[in-house]
């Protein structure tokens, strides 16, 4: 127990024996995971392994039936809703890029940027040089500086993915959850995205869910393999790919 407590308080994110059931389907069956502060982790696993459900639990979209989910060792995420969890410093990027299509690229970043979110604060919000500079800096990093005035809906698929990453940067969360960032990207875009994420990981803790093995290899971080709602293996990509059970269920060789 004391060992658990030490692990809990030293971890940024701590999941213990999390179980989630949807209409009788057990999406998570005792998932346990600890993420250290500043760590970047890749999560892999076949379809239906519970990757997206895990993100739903962490961000407050789904409630576990059993189990603990703690952030920074003291916030019980199972008691909070999406907005409260986001305010604590958990950002999420969806598999399908979701940006505000009727807003300019600039305004997308503006809405995401760290600032008071209340009705009165937003009604009275004034633009400032510092805010514009911050936005311009982020747009530069996500390679969208030239298209800042364009409507987000008019961007290419890859650019939307980057814009969403930019929105996460602007939000400046302590923990970033990123769901399949390179799905549908060209090889060049994939390489650029890997560079962006590595850059982000220098200052944030990141959890990336990804199918693309080449991409995971490029990230070069610790890998957790999920299978049927629980952790199957954990370690470097080489270690887990050598694990017979992983090979059996996932790599299919």
């Amino acid at each position: 127990m004391s060992e658990d407590n030490a692990k809990l308080t030293s971890s940024l994110l701590y999941l213990d024996n999390v179980q989630v059931t949807f209409d009788g389907y057990r999406a998570l069956r005792g998932l346990s995971l600890a993420l250290a502060s500043g760590e970047m982790r890749a999560i892999i696993g076949p379809n239906g392994a519970g990757k997206t459900t895990m993100m739903d639990v962490i961000t407050g979209k789904a409630r576990p039936d059993v189990g603990d989910v703690y952030f920074e060792g003291r916030h019980d995420l199972t008691l909070l809703d999406e907005a409260e969890i986001a305010t604590l410093g958990v950002g999420r990027k969806f598999q399908k890029p979701t940006v505000f299509e009727n807003h300019s690229v600039n305004d997308n970043i503006l809405l995401a940027a760290k600032a008071p979110r209340g009705v009165r604060a937003t009604l009275c919000a004034k633009g400032s040089a510092a805010i514009n500079q911050n936005i311009a800096g982020i747009l530069e990093r996500i390679r969208l500086g030239d298209v800042s005035a364009r409507l987000a809906g008019a961007l290419s698929h890859g650019q939307k993915q980057w814009l969403e990453i930019g929105m996460l940067l602007a939000q400046d969360p302590k923990l970033l959850l990123i769901d399949e960032p390179v799905a549908g990207m060209t090889d060049a875009e994939t390489a650029a995205t890997a560079a962006m994420l590595k850059e982000i990981a220098k200052r944030h803790s990141v959890v990336v869910v990804e199918h693309d093995m080449a991409f995971v290899r490029e990230l070069g971080v610790k890998v957790t393999v999920l299978h049927e709602g629980a952790v199957l293996a954990e370690g470097s990509l080489d270690q887990v790919s050598a694990d017979e059970r992983v090979v059996e269920v996932y790599l299919g060789r």
Binding site: T59, E82, N102, L110, R117, C124, A125, Q171
Partner: protein, 366 residues
């Protein structure tokens, strides 16, 4: 694009301001039969349209910018109207048919002996005006709080807003609810001592309505152009994304909904002295649906378009119900289907399209 909208906005404000000044001159300052003379019945008719336009702008704020298709906004309009009607009833004093100085006629008729608590204070204008804003505002606050917190959205929300106005419709019909039952409130005499039958007061109410429309438009415009307005649109387009960004979506919706309800109520309060009656039929579900049609015809999410839609559709309604009354509902239905299918951006969408075409032709000519 925003500059074009701006342009339309300023033209709209200028036209309304001119109307507020010129219509009184045309109605009162010119002799009857003069070319520019405007008969007061026409002034009153347009005054009514302006109140509908306020309702339309209010509805556009929540529907066009936040995706909340309220099919119960007529209820807020009617509640504002009832609050004003109650004040006007109390102003009648002993001049009613039964000449009872303490009770409105319908209460004497129902054999009531004292004024119900809900009516207390309504002989004061300031209190009545407070109620115009407060009663619908609080209803919207309570309704919205439950609905948005429970994440009721889309067609389900539209249905419960219909249920809300239908429930009020039924309730106001009952005599013992205490607001005049089926007949509603009527036979008004004067407002702040000014006789409602005089031409000058009728024309004055028109001008006040025009000014109120301008103010509601400018307030809505300021709201949608603020960062809050951007958040409102973002909620409309990707609600859950906003939650994961840390925005309290229910609060964002609630604020717009309450502001919109209050605006609708102001429209209703100005409507009642101009038409001289308020009765439960104002709560009829069909009225709220019609308001949504005005907004759709004018162009959702444009504010100016909503006002234009309200005025244009009601003008057509006045004409059709006079000329070929049996076809009006068909025409209205056809208009709604036609606009939805072919001009999803309404009149404003057409204007913008025309403008773009002109630009293209001038560019190619150059």
């Amino acid at each position: 694009m925003s500059r074009q909208l701006d342009f339309a906005g300023w033209i709209f404000v200028a036209v309304m301001a001119l109307a507020a000044v010129l219509v009184p001159i045309a109605a009162l300052g010119t002799p009857e039969g003069a070319a520019l003379h405007m008969p007061t019945y026409l002034v009153q008719l347009f005054g009514k349209y302006l109140c509908y336009a306020i309702l339309a702008v209010a509805l556009d704020l929540v529907w066009g910018y936040c995706g909340i298709l309220s099919l119960g906004h007529g209820a807020f309009f009617a509640l504002g109207g009832y609050a004003m009607g109650m004040y006007l009833m109390r102003q009648i004093g002993a001049r009613g048919v039964y000449a009872n100085p303490n009770l409105p006629d319908f209460m004497v008729f129902l054999n009531w002996h004292s004024l119900p608590v809900a009516w207390w204070g309504f002989n004061g204008f300031a209190y009545a005006m407070l109620m115009v804003v407060l009663a619908p505002g609080l209803l919207a606050l309570a309704f919205g709080w439950f609905a948005f917190r429970s994440r009721v959205t889309g067609v389900y929300l539209s249905i419960i807003t219909q249920a809300m106005t239908f429930a009020l419709y039924k309730e106001f019909f009952r005599n013992d609810f205490g607001f005049g039952g089926n007949n509603g409130l009527t036979d008004f005499k004067d407002l702040l001592g000014f006789p409602l039958q005089s031409d000058a007061v009728k024309v004055g109410l028109f001008s006040i309505s025009a000014v109120a429309l301008i103010l509601c438009y400018l307030a809505s415009r300021a709201i949608v152009r603020s960062k809050y307005g951007k958040a409102l649109i973002a909620v409309r387009d990707a609600e859950s994304r906003m939650r994961f960004l840390g925005y309290r979506v229910e609060n964002i919706k609630l604020f717009a909904f309450v502001v919109s309800a209050v605006m609708a109520a102001i429209g209703g309060a100005l409507y009642v002295p101009q038409v001289g009656i308020i009765n439960p039929s104002e709560f009829a579900p069909g009225n709220s649906i019609e308001a949504a049609i005005w907004v759709a015809v004018g162009g959702r999410g444009t504010l100016v378009g909503a006002a234009i839609g309200a005025i244009a559709v009601n003008f057509a309604k006045t004409y059709f119900t006079g000329a070929i009354p049996e076809y009006w509902l068909f025409a209205l239905g056809a208009l709604f289907v036609g606009v939805t299918l072919f001009f999803p951006l309404g009149v404003m969408g057409l204007l913008r399209l025309g403008r773009k075409r002109n630009q293209v032709t001038t560019e190619s000519a150059a």
